[in-house]
């Protein structure tokens, strides 16, 4: 609801549908929020052993502020700086996590992928930055706003990365609950739909919108399932201080909602172009 209010333009505006720009800002905001919650907690679990571990949550907070500024119509230099830092930090994070995985003994093995630093997670921060920049009209000097295909493509790639991460971690959880397949199947179809949309614009508008809607729902739904997952650990929610850390990550699923909003932005942009 809150989200709905945020992405729908202020009262009095003629068009009821949110603009691509608002959608992109909202996507950036949600992705930053997800990274802020997830890396904040996971790095806390890692006791912030390395100072660099403060960087991701800090930049995610800055990105969130930038997106919020954009949503309330206060664009400017600072948000763009935040978005650029998010892109750089996200990419550096991917490298950092990968290095972390490699330095354990032996060749890269499944157990290291399961329990090492998640190689793909920081990419969400980079995506938050990219969508923020797209919303602000930066980085696409010749076309402002960005072309729909570009947004569709970036979103599809983002979904692909997210799916790979979820597939790995749910595999680690042995798909012990059948619903653990949902965040692979639904966003998988949505990503395929976005690629098709980029190739053959306007062909599957309705179906793609439903798939993106379902992907957006995965955010809150995933949080509900992950809360249930936390409750299944020894001591349940009464022992939240341990189980929120050792159970499934509560803040991770909203990244799907964030990506779905970017997908909606791609659709809206296409519709404006057509």
């Amino acid at each position: 609801m809150l989200l709905g209010r945020l992405i729908t333009p202020a009262r009095g505006s003629r068009r009821r549908k949110p603009s691509p720009q608002r959608l992109l800002y909202s996507s950036s905001a949600l992705l930053s929020l997800s990274v802020l919650g997830d890396s904040g907690l996971e790095h806390y679990r890692g006791l912030y052993r390395n100072r660099a571990m403060y960087v991701a949550p800090t930049i995610a907070a800055a990105g969130l502020a930038g997106a919020a500024a954009g949503l309330t119509g206060r664009s400017g230099r600072l948000p763009a700086v935040a978005f650029r830092s998010a892109v750089v930090t996200g990419l550096a994070g991917v490298g950092f996590h990968a290095w972390n995985l490699m330095k354990k003994p032996g060749r890269l093995r499944w157990d290291r992928l399961f329990y090492g630093a998640p190689a793909g997670a920081p990419a969400a921060l980079a995506l938050a930055g990219v969508f923020g920049l797209m919303a602000a009209g930066r980085g696409f000097p010749r076309s402002r706003p960005p072309p729909g295909e570009a947004v569709a493509l970036v979103t599809a790639i983002g979904l692909g990365g997210n799916i790979a991460e979820v597939a790995l971690l749910h595999f680690r959880g042995s798909y012990q609950n059948r619903f653990m397949y949902l965040p692979i199947a639904i966003p998988g179809l949505a990503a395929a739909g976005l690629l098709a949309e980029a190739a053959w614009p306007g062909k599957l508008d309705g179906a793609l919108a439903s798939l993106l809607g379902a992907t957006a729902v995965l955010g809150p739904l995933g949080m509900v399932f992950h809360s249930y997952g936390v409750s299944r650990n020894m001591g349940g929610w009464a022992n939240f201080s341990q189980n929120v850390l050792s159970g499934p990550p509560l803040a991770a699923p909203p990244s799907f909602s964030g990506l779905a909003l970017a997908g909606f932005a791609a659709l809206a942009l296409r519709n404006e172009e057509l």
Binding site: K104, P105, G106, R109, W110, D111, F114, Y115, F171, R172, G173, S174, Q176, N177, G229, R232, N233, M234, Q242, S246
Partner: protein
């Protein structure tokens, strides 16, 4: 310690709920049940489930109590000694075995209530050790006959194991993913890689993700002292609840004293002690599953005019060829903090010397596992095995969080002189206690020496500052071995005794050889196979009270 049985009046403890109960079917003592099982551990508990789920009437007795892990298990090593079989036994010979916490449980669920959950399959060739590898003895069953049952057990226990296991024939993926390898396991990993051999996260019977009412492992490392989260997949939390649900009756605090024989030379039931009195449960078949010391003891204690040397003992093999595993260790001090008690004690292993046949000066094999003894256990081992005491012990304990170590599970060879007999002394029930005689042969000593050399190299390659070694044993196997020939074995390949067709054995005492892996997975696979065989025999009318006369048909 509960002084009164809990499984009574039509209900049994619910292991998954504090103070909870589940309904349980009850049988009268004078009602001849299809199967009466003595012992509810890896062998008996598994078989009770297999038979009850096939519609046979089953009563299973256990001398130990029926625990609810969530409320009965304390995070206290001393308190948890209540899980062990501590009744007196006499242990002698050149290399006496230590009992109690080392290898014997006394509880519904048996030794699996405090086992360390390492769940490994035999190397296929070991089943034909004599024919294929040239030592010891062949089992009466071949790999294809047991492999499907290994898979069933792994599925039933949701074993958490590596995605690709480096040793053995191609296998189905373990049902659950491996646990994270702790720092103690990474020491093994570093050592293995420095010496150029493979290692893997250990396949364990504790869940790495939720399973039904079982919580995922919390890595506190109390496994050997009873798991209070139910992450551990023991007979108590897996087979027993299923058995009860399928209609089996479990009787806790019920000590079997004698298997009774009728005039026709067949078993008629078991005399057992419960709630202060001796009672007699009638049965068409009796299965003894009390493990390698208590199974032979019960058979020997049941001697009668028709079988003066003990039941099923015409071969003289009851109590003979007892085996244990060599459990030698190398310890070392690391520069970095290890905190080896965190997590199940053996999170990484190498089976290199189980599968490599070159470079050995001994027959058999051994697996090496990372270690994580709890503080009191460690202090005890340092004080007793190395005589460190006073300020020296205190200083040693100050290094607890920087210690690491490796231990083997090493195959010992079966020897007739390693045996269980009856002593003159009697226990609280007036039953003669067991006297165990044990000694290592030259091959056992060569294996141990090889392992200590190798583990010392591994520890130093992994960065240990210093190292020292010690001997030890773990697990029991044999004592009522199965075989192809009734002249030198107690049972056939179905666990059916050669002498008495309705008397069976289903536990670790059936092993003709020990193998270089922990035994419980193989015991459970054997139990499932025996259950299948019993059902097949029943269907063919060959599960006779007397040969040729069907008395049990199941569902």
């Amino acid at each position: 310690m509960p002084d009164r049985p809990r499984a009574r009046d039509g209900q049994a403890p619910d292991v998954f709920r504090r103070g909870g109960w589940v309904p349980m079917r009850m049988f009268r003592d004078d009602e001849a049940v299809d199967f009466l099982i003595v012992g509810t551990g890896a062998g008996g508990g598994t078989l009770a489930c297999a038979l009850a789920e096939r519609g046979f009437s089953v009563v299973a007795l256990d001398a130990g109590p029926f625990w609810r892990p969530l409320e009965d298990f304390a995070s206290d090593e001393t308190e948890q000694a209540k899980l062990y079989w501590r009744d007196e036994r006499i242990s002698g010979g050149e290399d006496p075995i230590s009992f109690g916490s080392n290898n014997s449980g006394k509880a519904v669920g048996g030794s699996t209530v405090h086992f360390q959950m390492v769940s490994l399959r035999f190397r296929p060739e070991w089943l034909k050790a004599r024919s294929l590898l040239g030592y010891a003895r062949d089992w009466p069953i071949a790999w294809p006959e047991i492999e499907p049952y290994y898979e069933q057990v792994e599925e039933a226990l949701k074993i958490s194991g590596p995605v690709d296991f480096p040793w053995g024939p191609p296998r189905k993926r373990y049902p659950y993913r491996p646990h994270p390898v702790n720092a103690a396991g990474l020491v093994l990993a570093r050592g293995a890689e420095a010496l150029g051999i493979s290692w893997a996260p250990t396949p364990l019977a504790t869940v790495s993700a939720p399973r039904g009412m079982a919580h995922p492992c919390v890595y506190r490392g109390f496994c050997k002292f009873g798991c209070s989260t139910n992450a551990k997949q023991s007979a108590l939390t897996v087979w027993i609840p299923r058995a009860i649900q399928a209609g089996a009756e479990i009787r806790d605090l019920a000590m079997a004293g004698r298997v009774e024989i009728g005039g026709d030379g067949l078993v008629t039931g078991v005399v057992y002690h419960r709630e202060g009195e001796w009672r007699r449960q009638r049965a068409r078949n009796v299965v003894v599953a009390g493990y390698s010391v208590e199974t032979p003891r019960l058979l020997l204690n049941s001697a009668c005019p028709a079988f003066p040397d003990g039941l099923a003992n015409s071969s003289g093999m009851v109590g003979k060829y007892l085996m244990t595993h060599a459990n030698h260790a190398v310890w070392g001090t690391m520069d970095e903090e290890i905190r080896w008690n965190k997590g199940p004690p053996s999170l990484a292993l190498t089976e290199h010397w189980n599968y490599a046949d070159d470079g050995k000066d001994f027959d058999g094999g051994y697996a090496i596992m990372s270690q994580g003894p709890m503080p009191a256990e460690w202090a005890n081992s340092v004080a007793v095995k190395h005589g460190v005491w006073g300020i020296a012990l205190r200083n040693r304990m100050m290094l607890y969080n920087r210690m690491a170590g490796l231990k083997i599970v090493g195959e010992t060879l079966p020897q007739e002189s390693n045996r269980v007999e009856l002593a003159e002394e009697e226990d609280e029930y007036g039953l003669p206690i067991a006297k165990v005689t044990y000694g290592n042969c030259d091959n056992d000593k060569r294996l141990a020496a090889h392992s200590i050399r190798f583990m010392t190299d591994m520890m130093h390659a992994a960065g240990a500052r210093d190292s020292w070694s010690e001997g030890g044993t773990a697990h029991l196997m044999g004592g009522c071995r199965m075989g192809d020939d009734e002249r030198d074995s107690v049972t056939d390949s179905d666990g059916r005794t050669w002498d008495i067709p309705n008397l069976w054995i289903c536990d670790g005492s059936l092993f003709p050889t020990a193998g270089g892996v922990n035994p419980s997975l193989t015991i459970q696979a054997l139990a499932l196979r025996i259950g299948d065989r019993m059902a097949a025999l029943a269907a063919r009318g060959e599960l006779a009270g007397r040969r040729g006369r069907p008395s049990v048909t199941g569902r």
